[in-house]
């Protein structure tokens, strides 16, 4: 009775072993039929052995090691992001102890009196970046619409590439060109025009300077155009064709189709694109440092020189002489890092929302 049961069980165990990839186990001489009690234990032993062999094989093929290595690489990238945040935090304790949150709101930046407040830089950064976004948004949207909807097919690739090249020009070259060409030739006359027509607003108060926040905003405009237009174009291209066809079939003109159907459909993606552009503008350093005039001017006028968070670091970091000074600058970098982290998160979330609805992948 017992023997019967063992025999009946054996094919299942065989099957199990075969499934585990061990092949048919060869029972050792005289094991199975004659001694049913030890058959079970032998089979178990063999199963263990073949499992070991399978493990060895996997290790020998190197796949386990390979997977571990690849995962390690992925973890390295994650750790790098965390390490950047941690290092900036760990290397700037002094200003936090001395000024606390007041660091962000204090208007005083005086290395001689050891007073440090980041407000002028935060203000300058926000002002220039938001103005740049304001200028760049309609132009980029126009570019995106042209590239995605209007341009003849043969033109789309080359024109898209030329606009991408705009993003490839090094920041310092923008700065050089801005300093010697763009500011005197274009920005100054524009500033004078603003001042003479809108001078009653505090935003456009005189006197007019060459290097100014307006110069920074106008050069940032050019620099964030490619970012916003590339992402917006991808968002528009991700919208299903049926939406366009439906709008046109209802009698809409092409512009009505774009304005009343495509743009609302891709709104969150377009918003994401703008936030990405804003993020780029906030962190841009060299070009801004070279044209903004680097002055602790506290007026709100766009036509006056100013400072941004990035430009104060670029300008003073190498010359900062004592701990508190250096750490205050590192603290500004930390603020900049935190802001870009939040903005990136928001932007990706918004862009993904459009991309998720449709199969095409959109990624900035």
């Amino acid at each position: 009775m017992r023997r019967q049961a063992t025999l009946n069980n054996e094919p299942q165990i065989f099957l199990l072993l075969v499934q585990m990839g061990a092949g048919t186990p060869t029972l050792p001489f005289g094991a199975s039929e004659r001694n049913p009690m030890s058959t079970m234990s032998l089979v178990k032993q063999q199963a263990a052995q073949s499992r070991l062999r399978a493990l060895k094989q996997r290790l020998q093929h190197g796949d386990l090691l390979f997977r571990a290595l690849v995962m390690l690489g992925a973890l390295c990238i994650l750790l790098l992001v965390i390490a950047i945040g941690y290092e900036l935090w760990a290397n700037s304790p002094l200003p936090r102890e001395k000024f606390g949150w007041g660091f962000l709101t204090s208007r005083e930046w005086n290395p001689v009196r050891q007073e440090f407040g980041a407000f002028p830089f935060i203000f300058g950064t926000l002002q220039t970046a938001l103005m740049a976004l304001l200028f760049a948004l309609p132009i980029s949207l126009g570019i995106a619409i042209f590239l995605a909807e209007l341009a003849p097919l043969w033109l789309r690739q080359p024109l898209g590439f030329v606009i991408e090249l705009l993003a490839a020009v090094p920041s310092v070259v923008y700065g050089l060109w801005g300093l010697f060409v763009y500011v005197p030739v274009f920005v100054r006359p524009t500033a004078q025009l603003f001042n003479s027509t809108l001078g009653f607003l505090p935003l456009f108060e005189g006197p007019v300077y060459g290097p100014s926040r307006l110069a920074a905003a106008l050069i940032l405009t050019i620099m964030i155009l490619p970012t916003i237009s590339a992402v917006s174009r991808d968002v528009l291209l991700a919208i299903p064709q049926s939406q366009r066809e439906a709008a046109l079939a209802l009698g809409a003109t092409r512009w009505e189709m774009i304005w009343q159907v495509l743009i609302p459909y891709g709104l969150s993606g377009l918003l994401g694109a703008s936030i990405l552009g804003l993020g780029r503008a906030l962190g841009e350093t060299m070009a801004v440092t070279m044209v903004i005039g680097n002055n602790l001017d506290l007026s709100s006028s766009l036509l006056h020189p100013g400072y941004t968070m990035a430009s104060i670091i670029a300008n003073e970091f190498a010359e900062a002489t004592y701990e508190l000074y250096i750490q205050s600058l590192i603290q500004i970098a930390l603020v900049l890092f935190a802001v870009t982290l939040i903005l990136n998160f928001l932007a990706r979330l918004l862009v993904w929302r459009v991309a998720r609805r449709v199969p095409t992948e959109v990624r900035a």
């Binding site: 992925a74 126009g142 570019i143 090094p170 990624r363």
Partner: protein, 288 residues
């Protein structure tokens, strides 16, 4: 039957024409600054371009001649260091990202890559400063390399990831079905198939890193003399442009333009080659 409101139709058609026209204008408006910059850099930089410029060291203010040999060599060393650190990690992480886009770590990796590419270069510089310059108490080419490595990594990673994803499934499956292990499949089938794209990514990364001046200010720092030492400050092309540009001297301004010309040719050249290679690769894989 209702009589169509002709004035209304006409207005809609006019608005349509105007707005579409404005979109086209916007697209060509974007080309203007690029052409303007390139022409100016060519015109101003071309005047002083000579063989000397590539083979001589910088001269002090007012002394004619001189070149940027130290900055060219310095840029090569710093970018080379960056490549050594960033390329292996970026490639390996890209393999993970391409193979596991839906796992939690894959999603986290994607987000981390996106964040890294959005971190301002100056913040990267400060990070390199805190981990290398502070402990060593010395500006060094090595610190510059680390800063640039962080800037390069997301670019290489992303391009490689996209290219690995483009490799047709059946190539991979064929290899696995023949009994090849995963890593062999990756190294001998998938990677060679995506090789052009990966090289493109590396070129784009190098182009971006080579143009970064902001992190150099407090990592590589700059050096008026010839140096190949990783532990010492070193000159780089973009930093040289910055130093020359903000100086008050006319002849240094001229040198800034010439250095910028070298830099622009290098960076845009890499970008254009990368683009050509990508198009070629996409065609080979049956896209477009």
């Amino acid at each position: 039957m209702m009589i169509p409101n002709l004035a209304h139709y006409r207005r809609r058609k006019i608005i349509n024409a105007i707005m579409l026209f404005l979109c086209g204008v916007a697209a060509f408006l974007a080309v203007v600054p690029l052409v303007w910059i390139l022409l100016y850099v060519l015109q101003e930089g071309g005047q002083y371009l000579s063989l000397q410029f590539f083979t001589e060291l910088p001269t002090p203010v007012g002394v004619p001649g001189g070149g940027v040999l130290n900055a060219i060599v310095g840029s090569a060393i710093v970018v080379g260091t960056a490549c050594v650190f960033s390329i292996p990690i970026a490639l390996v992480a890209a393999m993970y990202a391409a193979a596991n886009p839906d796992k939690p770590l894959g999603i986290a990796l994607r987000f981390a890559t996106d964040v890294l590419s959005g971190v301002p270069s100056i913040v990267t510089g400060i990070f390199a400063y805190t981990i290398i310059v502070l402990p060593q108490k010395q500006f060094s080419a090595f610190a510059g390399g680390v800063a640039l490595a962080i800037i390069m990594t997301p670019i290489v990673l992303r391009t490689t990831e996209e290219m690995l994803k483009l490799v047709p499934r059946y190539l991979r499956e064929g290899s696995l079905a023949l009994g090849a292990s995963e890593w062999k499949t990756m190294l001998q089938v998938t990677m060679p198939a995506a090789l052009n794209g990966i090289v493109t990514g590396i070129m784009l990364g190098i182009a971006r890193a080579a143009g970064e001046a902001a992190p150099m200010i407090f990592t590589a720092f700059g050096n008026p003399f010839f140096s190949t030492n990783l532990d010492q400050p070193i000159a780089t092309l973009p930093h040289m442009v910055y130093v020359y540009a903000i100086s008050p001297y006319k002849d240094w301004h001229a040198k800034a333009w010439t250095t910028a010309l070298v830099l622009v040719v290098l960076v845009l050249g890499l970008n254009i080659i990368a683009r050509v290679v990508t198009t070629w690769q996409l065609k080979r894989m049956g896209w477009r």
